[in-house]
């Protein structure tokens, strides 16, 4: 079903000429039939895939080592408990990323030759942290910084985990913000400046508030990535969900804890992804309905 088409574009307009097909009853029956077909084909596809897996030569062994109910029940509480560490990592880093990303984006959008060094530095920053694999940043900071042995520098892996995630994701998020700032029509700045607002004031009161509203969906997308990437900090010794599932796997000689971990992520991440999609849709509809 599409909405567009204009006065002549609705296929329904033509239906009465073709006799009884256009009646409400027939249309309801058509809708019912297409739902039934969709359902049936889904069941068939998934059943076929399921049969393929279950009849694989190694299935019995995989089932024992990945889908062990007893191990699942035994390891789940510890795994869910460890996920709390990921949540803390995520929430702390997210707040810092939102701030640092915005600062970087604003620095990069400052105009004029005076600010060239500032723009250059912000650009180098985003280039570096988008180019480096996250795991390397976490390794280098997580082991390197405490290794310096300077009193004032914290040694906790959790601290360096938050710092690393913030540094990495701020680079991406600043680009999202920047795209948002650049998407605001220059006439908005002209209007603000014409009233006597300074460049900084027009950014603060006019440009940035509108830009942030526009980039909420892509920001949520980045945060879905961040949520998953919190497992990377397990490499520097933070006992979070992935580390915990490794511990449980080693203790039971069984991979089921990883399946439990996967389930936890699915339960948490899918709703966030859905929410993002809904927001994107709403934005798109709003953009389509407002004329300017």
């Amino acid at each position: 079903m599409t909405f567009g088409g204009g006065p002549l574009g609705h296929p329904g307009d033509l239906i009465p000429l073709q006799g009884p097909r256009g009646s409400r009853l027939v249309r309801d029956r058509d809708a019912l039939r297409s739902t039934a077909v969709a359902l049936l084909s889904t069941v068939i596809v998934f059943a076929a895939l399921g049969l393929l897996v279950v009849n694989a030569p190694g299935w019995a062994a995989v089932q024992r080592s990945f889908f062990n109910g007893a191990v699942f029940a035994k390891s789940l509480p510890a795994i869910v408990g460890a996920f709390w560490v990921n949540v803390q990592l995520f929430l702390l880093a997210e707040v810092l990323i939102l701030v640092l990303g915005l600062v970087l984006a604003i620095l990069r959008s400052l105009p004029g030759p005076v600010f060239f060094p500032v723009r250059l530095m912000a650009m180098i920053y985003t280039d570096i942290f988008r180019a480096l694999p996250g795991v390397l940043v976490i390794y280098i900071l997580g082991f390197g910084m405490p290794g310096l042995g300077i009193e004032a520098i914290p040694r906790e892996p959790f601290f360096w985990a938050v710092v690393s995630l913030t540094l990495i994701y701020s680079a991406y998020v600043s680009e999202v913000y920047r795209a948002g700032i650049e998407s605001i029509h220059p006439s908005q700045e002209a209007a603000a400046r014409s009233l006597g607002l300074s460049r900084v004031q027009s950014l603060r009161y006019v440009i940035v508030p509108q830009a942030i509203r526009r980039v909420i969906p892509p920001l949520l997308n980045d945060f879905i990535g961040l949520q998953k990437d919190t497992v990377l900090v397990s490499y520097v010794g933070v006992v979070e969900i992935f580390r915990q599932s490794y511990i449980k796997q080693a203790a039971n000689f069984n991979f089921t804890p990883y399946i439990a971990t996967a389930l936890v992520f699915l339960v948490v991440t899918i709703p966030l992804a859905r929410l993002t999609d809904v927001l994107v849709q709403r934005d798109r509809r709003r953009a389509a309905t407002s004329s300017r």
Binding site: A192, S194, S290, R292
Partner: protein
Amino acid sequence: MSAAAADPDEARAAATPALLVAGLYKSFGQLEVLRGIDLAVAEHEVVCLIGASGSGKSTLLRCVNLLEPIDAGRIVVAGEEITAPRVDVNRIRRRIGIVFQAFNLFPHMTVLDNVTLAPRKVLHLPRAEAADRALALLERFGLADKRAEFPDRLSGGQQQRVAIVRALAMEPELLLLDEVTSALDPELVAEVLAVIRQLARGGMTMLIATHEMGFARDIANRVCFLDAGRILEEGPPEQIFRAPRAERTQRFLQRVMEAGRL
């Protein structure tokens, strides 16, 4: 204000012009948009700029508001050269209001916030005082009941009236209007023109770029015909519209008349 209105010509001759533009040149890359504009607007005078699209009307207004850097020439507002180096552009802009063709209201703010933003942040008025003054202005132009609406809930005519009120809230010495009715549906043009008439009666100094010839003839003390970046002809509206001297002016008005806009 009223003294000047009583004998406008004499007052104008005596005072420093509200706006003086001398030898103004402006190019965008290879394209010369303004090629030597000389123009004076007296206090309380209404000057209309007419001319084909691309003749430089909008660019001239944007230059006067320092939204475009100029290539050569001088712009003097009430005796102060605003194109001098190191002039504080923010201070100058708050003395000159501009209203744009596309309204350019801030879509994330209510009508009241649109109007009070600059008085609060630039003039540092307390919120309550800025709101009182804004409400008085909105009342004057029949928009008080829209104070809490967001711009996308208003008609084009209402949005443009809010944009005018937003400019007026800074109490500008000079108001620039850049084809403020061109983006409006025909039935909404009248309400905006009525507001501008009201301002003219109140003695507001205005420089107006417009395609509404009937309106220009009504409201202007003086009409300037722009052609290819120069003021080709200027004079009282009666003379320009009835007996244009330059051949290009005649041809332009001929075309306008054929299009049914005069």
